[in-house]
């Protein structure tokens, strides 16, 4: 296959127009000593039908979630994606467009981002949202960079109860920018970040980073953390699960300066980890420091409302080394998925959905922890995920349940050696009582 329309005859006409005899002449500026003098060593071309079969084979070598009942979350969640989302995303006016540099022919992308920004502001209670970041982890890392820039401080304080991969990305970014990262441990009983640990570290820090609910599913005492940050002049950065905001209060209400998070639960398939989208919202005070694209409303010469990329003097294509970030491409199409999804879900739907996740998770927790050999690992309240200590060990639990076509959860021992017998279980609205009961009876047989 190739997607080149010009025929040999067309090419001849073009060569004549240029005034050369062969295409090779156009490559004479590549010095001979750096030329590739052999064919690239790649597999031979395939027809479309061969390619399709090959790809079906590769996809079939994975175990699709259709065949398994999954309680795996840990940052990527199996929420239902309504058909309208893929329908809209399949419109090639959206997906074959570039960044909307020419607003007169980009109102679809621009208006949908404006709607997205509004929805993120509504969910989080913040004043300004950007058009998206790569994912929740890079959003949090860039928030930390901006906080240190704003406060002119060089220390980042992050709760150890934040997603391990978010923390890993923060460490990477911070090393690049020569910033210090201090992790504050969690309380062994509650699963929440340790208040006295924070109190010891926050003085002098540029920011405090927490996740709500945290990686263990636990609800953090965000009000106290926010107060502590404010008291010491550090910016308060919170990563949230957007769907939890159907039932949990918006971060603006407890003093967050920046709210970030992973938008995958909003209609984006798990796709082995990406592409997802990071959302990024700030207070008005920080508006001119926000990274990436921002869409604003304005009017055209005919007096009509229209939308444009705005506040571009923050951005790399204008400001080069003085930009607030290097981000250029973002995750616009995933942001569109989130916009369509949230339109479908609506004002009532997000509350209902959050309630369903909460109730089903509570039911699963109660059933599981009533079994012998399984205990709640942490006492703090949770939303759709909770941690369970398994007497028989997580390896045995996972293996045995896999035989019953159930993925029982995520073993926290991977990232926290002290939690090597703790399983993180995620329950979305898709899990039925029957499926939860099957998990429970699978676990029961092991104890």
């Amino acid at each position: 296959m190739n997607f080149i329309p010009n025929t040999e005859r067309d090419r001849q006409r073009m060569l004549e127009a240029i005034g050369i005899r062969s295409i090779e002449e156009l490559f004479e500026d590549i010095p001979d000593i750096v030329r590739l003098k052999r064919e690239l060593d790649l597999p031979r071309a395939m027809s479309e039908s061969e390619l399709y079969s090959h790809m079906v084979g590769l996809a079939g070598a994975n175990s699709s979630f259709h065949e398994y009942v999954s309680f795996l979350g840990a940052g990527a969640y199996d929420h239902y994606i309504p058909a309208v989302v893929q329908h809209v995303l399949g419109r090639s006016e959206f997906y074959t467009a570039y960044t909307p540099y020419q607003p007169e022919v980009s109102q679809a992308v621009l208006q949908s981002i404006y709607e997205y920004q509004t929805m993120i502001c509504e969910l989080t209670g913040m004043d300004v949202s950007n058009a998206s970041m790569y994912d929740g982890a890079t959003a949090m890392a860039e928030a930390a960079m901006i906080a240190c820039g704003q406060t002119r401080r060089k220390k980042i304080v992050v709760a150890r109860s934040v997603h391990p991969e978010y923390r890993a990305v923060i460490h990477t970014y911070a090393r690049g920018a020569d910033l210090e990262v201090v992790e504050v441990d969690f309380q062994k009983d509650s699963g929440q970040v340790c208040g006295s640990g924070l109190a010891g570290q926050v003085p002098g820090a540029g920011c405090v980073l927490v996740q709500q609910p945290n990686f263990f599913g636990c609800i953090e005492d965000v009000q106290s953390i926010g107060n502590l940050a404010r008291q010491h002049g550090a910016l308060f950065v919170v990563a949230v699960d957007p769907l939890s905001l159907g039932v949990l209060r918006p971060p603006a209400s407890y003093g967050a300066d920046m709210v970030v998070g992973e938008g995958q639960p909003l209609g984006v398939p798990m796709s082995f980890g990406g592409p997802y989208l990071g959302f990024f919202a700030v207070t008005e005070k920080l508006m001119r420091r926000i990274p990436g694209r921002v869409v604003g409303a304005t009017v055209d010469v005919r007096g009509q409302r229209g939308f444009v990329l705005t506040l571009q003097t923050r951005e790399q294509h204008i400001r080069r080394e003085k930009a607030t970030s290097n981000i250029c491409s973002n995750e616009a199409l995933c942001a569109l998925a989130a916009t369509v999804y949230l339109s479908w879900l609506g004002k009532e739907g997000i509350q209902d959905l959050a309630r369903h996740c909460l109730q089903k998770a509570a039911y699963a927790r109660d059933r599981i922890t009533s079994l012998d050999g399984y205990q709640r690992a942490f006492s703090a309240p949770h939303f759709k995920e909770f941690a369970v200590r398994c007497q028989v060990g997580t390896g045995r639990v996972l293996d045995e349940l896999l035989k019953k076509k159930i993925i029982a959860g995520y073993p926290l021992g991977r990232d926290y050696p002290e939690l090597d017998d703790v399983l993180l279980i995620s329950v979305t609205e898709k899990r039925s009582r029957g499926q939860i009961d099957a998990l429970v009876s699978g676990l029961e047989g092991l104890a």
Binding site: V34, D135, T138, Y166, T298, R319
Partner: protein, 485 residues
């Protein structure tokens, strides 16, 4: 007739809904028992209340207000707006890929891991690199990753290098990325042929320089003929060479960045390898490195032990993670499918035809437009409306806006910065001679209009759903969200 569409919020009507949920089939507990009262949301988020028909019509109507590659020519320079094969969209959506959780046991993800392993090999072959990470989500993210690797390399050698050299024709992301890794930028001017001024480079290159970032061919569409000399100058002082792969569509099968002296390379899968741009993303920006830099790559890498594919986290000198999970997997699937569809000869034909199309277009435009560097170009080129502007006052922006009336997306405007009134044009290989001729005829028509009736061009566009928008007010008094009145 296209019409503006209200905001989804303006279509909202209390009580209307699109969603449905499975029954809540577990006993419901009192909310106050499950969550602390203080953490409960008091005021619901003002999301729209609309029916499913409303949602579908809204976004379908909205979509009609956008230009895309599937609608028409999109010669946006340095963005490689080539056709996005439809089969790639289909295979990326296969349930075995789309429903795969990133934390399933490796044994359940062998197909996905095989794909990642193989495309890494393909990209390394195309770039002349030893190994690559697929984690970066975009070109700029690749730059950040590459610069962190270079920083780690110098630090491991006990050297503190604080500068990055960047040509004046470089993409804005280059200096912005350098600053993110704590570097100072040093700009080198271009010479009269449009390449790096080698003498200037010799003067600024010393032991405080970490690396030179170069796009080759550069943003003028010109291949730097002195690339091997440049590489020598940088390497002799212990610096490394970073390849910004934004323009790799010009050289596949002709030259490999690794063979031309580059130590670290990023590719833009959403440019060269035909994955769609999605209105601004997702992209994917894999980074390849030479052998002795492999140990600094982000974790995990995908390895093959002869029987099964596995995630390798055991890289003690790694710079760490730059992103969640393993990169933009779904985008990577599309690039993989593209490479498999094209094969080695197909990829070479891509570059051949991309370069041929660009040169044809460049020569045909010279009746009215001026060429700052008169030599064969690679996959893109820059012209400017010098004569037109002088005689009529019509500028690049006006010409671009007038193009919209003819159903063509304008070229990149006012970039690179070193050419005044630049129009940076990249036709790509997937356009036919008829499309190119239509573009030439349209550009000539606009030139004739400029001479005959400059106001017509200066007030364009006339036929788009909105006219020129007031960007200055938008930035001065930002309205960045809708609010209920």
């Amino acid at each position: 007739m296209k019409r503006l569409e209200p905001l989804i919020f303006e279509l909202s009507s209390p009580g209307r809904r699109a969603y449905s949920l499975p029954a809540l089939d577990v006993p419901e507990q009192d909310l106050g028992q499950l969550l602390p009262a203080g953490e409960l949301r008091q005021v619901p988020a003002e999301l729209p209340e609309v029916s499913e028909v409303d949602v579908v019509r809204h976004f379908t109507r909205l979509s009609q207000l956008n230009h895309g590659v599937d609608i028409g020519f999109y010669p946006l320079g340095s963005c490689t707006m080539k056709y996005n094969p439809k089969i790639n969209e289909v295979v990326a959506g296969l349930p075995g890929f789309a429903n795969l959780h990133p934390y399933v046991p490796e044994s359940m993800a062998q197909g996905a891991l095989q794909l990642l392993y193989e495309i890494e090999q393909y990209l390394c072959e195309i770039g002349g690199m030893a190994r690559a990470t697929l984690q970066p989500a975009a070109g700029a993210h690749g730059e950040l990753t590459g610069l962190l690797i270079i920083k780690a390399y110098h630090q491991a050698r006990g050297e503190r290098r604080t500068k990055v050299i960047i040509p004046d024709s470089a993409h804005g992301t280059n200096p912005a990325s350098a600053v993110m890794v704590g570097m100072e930028t040093v700009e080198v001017k271009s010479d009269h042929r449009g390449g790096v001024d080698v003498e200037v480079l010799r003067r600024v290159m010393d032991e405080s320089v970490s690396c030179l970032m170069l796009t080759n061919p550069n943003t003028l569409g010109l291949f730097d003929e002195n690339i091997h000399v440049i590489a020598d100058i940088v390497h002799q002082k212990g610096g490394l060479l970073y390849y910004d792969g934004a323009n790799a569509n010009a050289i596949m099968g002709y030259a490999r960045p690794g063979d031309t002296g580059f130590d670290v390379v990023h590719f833009n899968l959403h440019k060269t390898f035909a994955t769609p741009h999605g209105g601004g993303g997702p992209g994917s920006g894999p980074v390849g490195v030479r052998e002795d830099l492999v140990k600094y790559l982000p974790v995990p890498l995908v390895d093959f032990d002869g029987q099964r594919y596995l995630l390798n986290y055991d890289l003690p000198d790694t710079i760490g993670r730059v992103k969640l999970y393993y990169g933009n997997f779904s985008t990577i699937i599309k690039a993989y499918a593209y490479i498999r569809a094209m094969g080695p000869d197909g990829l070479k034909k891509v570059s051949e035809n991309a370069v041929l199309n660009a040169n044809y277009l460049m020569r045909k435009l010279l009746e009215h437009y001026d060429l700052p560097y008169d030599r064969h170009c690679k996959h893109e080129f820059v012209v400017k409306p010098g004569r037109i502007k002088e005689k009529t006052g019509v500028r690049t922006l006006d010409i671009s806006k007038r193009l919209l009336d003819y159903g063509v997306h304008p070229p990149t405007n006012y970039f690179p910065l070193i050419v005044e009134e630049a129009l940076m044009i990249e036709p790509t290989e997937t356009e036919s001679i008829e499309t190119l001729d239509y573009f030439v005829e349209t550009m000539n028509q606009i030139a004739r209009e400029a001479y005959a009736d400059p106001e017509r061009v200066k007030t364009a566009p006339h036929t788009t759903v909105v006219g020129r928008l007031d960007e200055a007010t938008a930035a001065r008094r930002p309205v960045v969200r809708w609010k209920k009145e």
